[in-house]
Amino acid sequence: MGVEGIGARVLRKEDKRFITGKGRYTDDFKMAGMHYAAFVRSPHAHAKIRGIDKSAAEAMPGVVGVLDGKQLTGDGIGNLICGWMIHSKDGSPMNMGAWSAIATEHVRYVGDAAAVVVADTLENARAAAEAVVIDYEELPHVIRAVDALKDGAPQLHPEAKGNLIYDWEIGEKDATEQAIAGAAHVTEMEIVNNRLSPNPMEPRAALANYDEADDHFTLYTTSQNPHVARLVLSAFYQVAPEHKLRVIAPDVGGGFGSKIYIYPEEIVCLWASKRLGVPVKWTSDRTEAFLTDAHGRDHVSKARIGFDKDGKIVGFSIDTIANIGAYMSLFSSSVPTYLYATLLSGQYNIANIHCNVRTVYTNTAPVDAYRGAGRPEATYLVERIMETAAREMGMDPAELRRRNFVSEFPHQTPVIMCYDAGDYNATLDAALKAADYANIGKRKEEAKARGKLRGIGLSCYIEACGIAPSAAVGSLGAGVGLWESGEIRVNPVGTVEILTGSHSHGQGHETTFAQLVNERFGLPVDNVQVIHGDTDKVQFGMGTYGSRSGAVGMSALVKALDKVEAKAKKIAAHLMEADEGDIVIEDGEVKVAGTDRKLGWHEVCLAAYTGHNLPQGMEPGLKETAFYDPTNFTFPAGTYVCEVEVDPETGKTEVIQFVAADDFGVIVNPMIVEGQVHGGITQGIGQALLENVIYDDNGQLLTASYMDYAMPRADDVPSYKLSTHETVCPGNPMGMKGCGEAGAIGSPPALINAITDAIGNNNLTMPATPARVWALINGK
């Protein structure tokens, strides 16, 4: 409706504070009497704590406390939990080991918190942390997931025999095996999905204060979901009951999943604040971030896919081992199961799929959701094996995909998901055209003449967003419902405040959510304020992850706007003595259709609040709340095409072009959506070319700084060619699907398929470093 409504490229309302240095991130806050926490972290991958000598540290300047895990548990602080129950295929519940925010008897990875020092300055806290003497008895350790499953492997938790957390399956095993046995062609691959560090540019931080007079805590923290943080801190860690704990997630500098979880440091800051009687701040440095932020991916899979003589898929079998690290982070169990194996049908009509997943403990940092969470792992597997199969069968990879596309909706896959809408040919066609796929042969020739190897690769991804229908995820083991709440607060002067349980940490909600109000009432977005990230202001919400803030968060706002609109129309009809059904609201005016009678929007709002002349029995005010629970996942999908040139002398890959054709359903702000895709693709290129978390055999993290962990820089990536192709999602009122993760999900296989095409060898593992590519070219 309005020029700033749905589909408009409205510039971001939030930008001014960021471009002028006035953003307010957690570390920017100070409190009177604030002290600083420094953690004493395990230098060992696995050890028993025989004793802690705090005396030297306690005597150091400015130190007000040196605290350990026994004091923490002694004060009744509960263990960290994983909030998604997975049952093994034998019906037994997952085997979860205990995780104390500060280790009590054992440390289980390098970086595990063993003690904390609180002092008046950061320098004093860090100096004293160095002086805490911990007597460790080193224990055998295991780093790789496949090794953790071997007989005789070191054991991390008594609860998880053989380090196995669960042995889970989905799909029909026998039918899948029979189908593959009868296939005309079978492609087999072992596929590794490399371990990554999410690396939002703002490191995690927490600032906690206990107010003794009110028996009340305040926590500023870098969270994607402050309400869930408060719930978990209250219900499971027993820090304080919810009404005695305010959690504020102010400006947050990126998350990508890593700021969903409740980490030990927030718990410790809250607890230490009460115990020591001072506000306590902790801000991670980058090395701590690499050591302790939840990592992502780290799957090893064996996959077999069978085709009939026409190139139609008849069966797909996958056996995956997932590394979950030393402890089970908040949503970790769901990532290699329901967020992964349910997407193994890709964009394809596959009658038989079976996937077995064994998830194991190792002496490494916890692994949880990172941008895409399970879906990148599924997409990488499906799209690598499709491309490889096409090459083995001598078929055009695009044609093989096309032959297997799902083309009728709704489509029930054999792995739970029911795809509701899509047009996979449309995005494939658009991407091939934009990439000039038809003429790649000429470009390969031209490159060859220059001594370079050119290749092209496809990826037709699908993902599941809009997470998620509460009853459905509840039946699958989730400990929470995944609805969202929204409140529309219309002020007496007609300006609007949106309160949302979604949280923006770069996604631009302050703009896109305001666009909904413009669309509905024609009010300028400058008259709309979006309020989020504070449990004292917003009643409740489930936060932002899984590309859910549009499809779920905005849907809640749409429902609340429906109620506001209905009430405003009733008031206007009463004031203008018209029929309610004849009232229209547009361009900031409330009109009687077909007449010249109208009121300003602000006049109706003021009338709602003066209460002087309202319809009989109507409550004053104009403020409505709604909770929206989605009816299904949403299914963004698209095709990515990557073209590379490899220098055979060095093995270095240059990305020549990257084309994305996406179907995100209805788009509110194309500018913001494009930005999400740019960022997602770059993270995917990072995974495919550059990034890799590496522990050495001693369990030391070798990639613990930006000197050692290769983040994508501006000169590693090209500019991107994007297009969108909308099919309306039938599952939510606005027809939205979500766009936050697609880039990171779809891009790695496109890039690896391009390199393997260039070098003529399918056996490439991410990241495709020059050394690895050179070795394959040279048969090493």
Binding site: K16, I19, K22, Y25, R286, G506, H678, G680, M707
Partner: protein, 156 residues
């Protein structure tokens, strides 16, 4: 402890600071100029870039005492009066930021880049190569490059 005196965003400031205090800590903790950020501890990410005597400097790599006597401009001092610097405006107009954490350093680097290389000499390759010392995790750099192209034109 040492006494430092410098001009920050046009104002003279004097403080007694520890010798080991970094310039970024001085700006953030002593002067409350929290627009300058710390994103790493190895001088790689560039979130802390400020201008010292007109040149881009990673303020995590310089001691406060080293900046004594210098003229320092931070992101808070880039706009004049109520008007955004053309590079700030370009980042907004081209959606060159998402979470905003790397943005101050990016903008300070971009302004320095235009000053050093000249607005007319900034092709995409040059811009990308010169952003080697600034990491952004959100934007994929696409719109940062567009922003700097536009900002350079506006500065010319």
């Amino acid at each position: 402890m040492s006494k430092v005196s410098m001009t920050v965003n046009g104002k003279t400031v004097e403080r007694e600071v520890e010798d080991r205090m970094l310039l970024v800590e001085f700006l953030r903790e002593e002067l409350n100029l929290t627009g300058t950020h710390v994103g790493c501890d190895t001088s790689q990410c560039g979130a802390c870039v400020v201008h010292v005597d007109g040149k881009a400097v990673k303020s995590c790599t310089q001691l406060a005492v080293q900046a004594s006597g210098c003229e320092v401009v931070t992101i808070e001092g880039l706009a004049t009066g109520g008007d955004l610097h053309p590079m700030q405006a370009a980042f907004k107009e081209n959606h060159g930021l998402q979470c905003g954490f790397c943005t101050p350093g990016m903008i300070m680097t971009a302004v320095d880049l235009v000053n050093r290389v000249g607005a007319g000499n900034l092709d995409e390759k040059t811009i990308r190569e010169n952003l080697e010392g600034n990491i952004c995790r959100c934007t994929g750099y696409h719109n940062i490059v567009r922003s700097i192209e536009a900002g350079a034109k506006a500065m010319a």
